[in-house]
């Protein structure tokens, strides 16, 4: 028997099938939770954001449009917004000790038991790791902490122009790296 793909499962979720929902949960929770944990840096808050993300999947499955991208990307987009909303609600702006040491921010070493489906995130992960530390730092604050360039300049005590140029350079580096693949 073939394993149902995401599109089939999300259609079944839209029709209220709980088993399909739990299959999607089992399939994607590791990626969703990794993102909420990355943003909130707190296991309890991250679990709440992960739960909210999947409850939104349950309630909004009928609104998913396959032509706009894969289901996982949709889920991760919802997870990021949910976690950033929570971050804002908690008024938990990152402490300098969290944000200032980029090495600490990316210190998770992936499991070496590489599975085929893991090759994609691994290649993305190592591309981000290959950024210069100060470039990685602005990406971290902008994307995973939801800060604007002005807020980053304030938190790091850098001139706004420096933040802008480092963010552009980091994005250009990743664009070139990922376009090669």
């Amino acid at each position: 028997m073939t394993t149902p793909d995401d599109v089939e499962l999300v259609t079944r979720v839209a029709n209220g099938e709980e088993r399909a929902f739990l299959m999607l949960y089992d399939r994607h929770v590791g990626r969703v939770h990794a993102l909420t944990l990355r943003i909130l840096n707190n296991p309890m808050l991250a679990e709440e954001a992960t739960q909210d993300t999947f409850l939104k999947l349950w309630g909004r499955a009928r609104l998913y449009l396959n032509e706009r991208g894969p289901l996982l990307l949709w889920l991760l987009t919802i997870a990021r917004r949910t976690a950033l909303d929570r971050l804002r609600l908690e008024a938990r702006r990152p402490m300098l000790s969290d944000a200032n040491d980029p090495e600490d921010s990316w210190d998770l070493i992936p499991d070496l038991n590489t599975l085929p489906e893991e090759s994609r995130w691994r290649s993305l992960y190592f591309a981000v790791q290959s950024l210069q530390p100060d470039h990685r730092q602005v990406i971290d604050l902008a994307y995973y902490q939801g800060m604007s360039q002005s807020e980053i300049a304030e938190v790091l005590g850098w001139p706004l122009g420096t933040v802008k140029s480092r963010l552009r350079a980091a994005m250009e580096h990743l664009r070139e790296k990922w376009n090669e693949e």
């Binding site: 739990l22 990355r38 991250a46 679990e47 992960y125 902008a142 360039q149 552009r168 664009r175 990922w178």
Partner: protein
Amino acid sequence: MALDEHSLLRENIPAYALGALDAEDIRALEVHLQTCESCRAELADYRFVSDNLLSAIPPAQPSPALRKRLQSHLPSAQKTTRPRFIWSFSRLAMGGALALLFVMNLFSFAQMRALQRQQLSVQRQLQNNQAALAMLSYPGTEALAIAAGNISGTVLLDRDRNSAALVVWNLPELSEEQTYQIWLIEADEDRVSAGLFRPQADLPYTTQPVFSSQSISNFVGIGVTVEPSGGSEQPTGPRIFKVDF
């Protein structure tokens, strides 16, 4: 457009794709994107980068208890415990909102006599109340409770007639430089502005219609934030409340 201006706007595209562009620069770039094909192509490239950043993290499993908690929210787990409560809560909320709006209307008339100078704004408030009352007379109108600390009230939602209104008590007063902004929330969590308002002076409640050019059914929730006077493209200030549809 001058080449220099194009180059300056183009430099903002990576930050825009990351959601890190400052609010005052967003509008100019979005206007430029409408007419500049090369910048739109570049934005698509950088959106690809930001999408990839969502996946550039090693997976992490939550505790097994999370799966059980999620299952407890599914209908099969709730059939034995919650349907009656949900039904009665909805009816209670509707009845409460009716009583509330009746009292509020009386209060509005009294205020109109006493506050001649504010006649125009009170009239607007009254119209809003009446619109809300009219909505309540429709059988399809849903009344969703607002509860956020000291702030309470009701979201009236009529999907069939594509209309909605807020009735909110105890909204804090704002400075002249601030406004409340209503946001309709899309399935992917994007926010669409649905109007600005300020609390009615000397009234403890505010009734405010919600304006949407799209079908209300396209949205999954509604929220209110405090924004600079004139409003923002996206929420930037503190959230006052949020209600899921």
